[in-house]
Amino acid sequence: MEALIRGFFNFDILAQAWPILLAGFWMTLLLTLAVVPLGFAGGLAVALASTTKNFFVRAVVVGYVDLFRAFPALVLLMLVAYGLPFLDIRLGAFGSVALAFFLNTSSYYGEILRAGIESVPRGQLEAARSTGLSALQTMAWVVLPQAVRNVVPDLISNTLEVIKLTSIASVVALPELLHAAREAQALTYNATPIIAAGIIYLVCLWPLVRLLSRFEHRQIALH
């Protein structure tokens, strides 16, 4: 028990590691604030493109979505981070992570939003058009608000996954929370920073998990 406390919940070590962990936490937050809105915007573009009647555009969108959903995110990240420099494209760690996450998350958000748009009855679109709204106005003011509302649980679930996924940025040496924890572990020869990082993730993400669990029960009960 004492060994457990010394190894995992050591407050002296925590005090030493705290500045590093805090810097890592801010980086994770910054990363989240960059990749979630970017991915959502990309997903919206993907979803809108998949509603066109143009067969070619739809085929390209399905190909894009399936391709980037088939890659594990870490594989995509390594391809971007280690492959692109050979083309003389240097994005740096943050840029590589942002690009890889954009490709990955925009496919997932796109798939969710597409399902949302399809769940809005056609009559809504026809009624909106017949009152004189343009196609763009119909999409923005009538279809999308209902579409998004219908898939809120999936959007939250995906956002939670994206935030958790930011931890893979540690692999390309972006100093986010997990990377900071490992660095602090190496400096202190003690696992407390890793446990502390886990607790920070837990405290920040638990509310989302609770919220989601409530939504899921309601959703499956309404099948």
Binding site: L74, L178, H217, I220
Partner: protein
């Protein structure tokens, strides 16, 4: 173009490392199957246990599931592999990755199965019990068959997402596809093995993603 092909599609390098990637592919397949089987089996077990509604046990299950859903999988893998040895618990990289991902899948599938069990109307329970079936018989022969059907689409998608996380094993040097590709890349200082590894993932997972899409339409929840 010649330089591009030399860099990214260097046949000599690819041929040299192809056997390694193939070896990694088998490791990925075995790891993914082991995770899927252990995770779903434990998740089903926990959801059945939860159906007995022992208060203390249910509080524990909900807590464990929430924790496992809130923590990034990479953090769990790293905690198992780098933090546990400091208190004397040692496991190999393969076991760390397998155990971490199985626990995560267990948490998600428990939630999904439990939501499915709740979705079976109370009348089904009451009718089965009144015909003289025991609690266990009711659960096994009446409730679970109906519950499991509801859970197939979300469970399939979640399983695919989590088995893709086997790539995270590369971080603790499990010899799966990404690890092999990455170490081949470091040895040859040529990104061709990364592309080869990416291709291996696509060959493995594009059919799986398409299967998930098919399952989703086949078992679509009717609103």
């Amino acid at each position: 173009m010649g330089r591009f092909a030399d860099t990214f599609l260097n046949w000599a390098v690819m041929a040299q490392y192809a056997p390694r990637i193939l070896e990694g592919t088998w490791v990925t397949i075995r790891l993914a199957l082991a995770v899927a089987i252990a995770g779903i089996a434990c998740g089903l077990f926990l959801s059945v246990l939860r159906a007995f509604r022992f208060r203390a046990i249910n509080v524990l299950i909900v807590f464990a599931v929430d924790v496992l859903r809130a923590l990034p999988p990479l953090v769990i893998i790293i905690a198992f592999y780098f933090a546990l040895p400091t208190v004397g618990v040692r496991m190999s990289a393969w076991v760390s990755t397998w155990l971490a991902l199985s626990l995560v899948l267990m948490a998600f599938s428990e939630e999904i199965f439990w939501a499915g069990i709740l979705a079976v109307p109370r009348g089904q329970w009451e009718a089965a019990r009144s015909t003289g079936l025991s609690f266990l018989q009711t659960l096994r022969d009446v409730v679970l068959p109906q519950a499991v059907r509801l859970t197939i689409p979300p469970l399939t998608n979640r399983t695919i997402a989590i088995t893709k996380n086997t790539a995270l094993g590369a971080v603790v040097a499990v010899g799966e596809i990404l690890y092999q590709a990455q170490s081949a890349y470091s040895f040859s200082y040529n990104p061709s093995p990364l592309l080869l590894g990416a291709a291996a993932y696509l060959i493995l997972f594009i059919p799986v993603v398409c299967f998930g899409r098919w399952i989703e339409t086949r078992f679509a929840w009717k609103r």
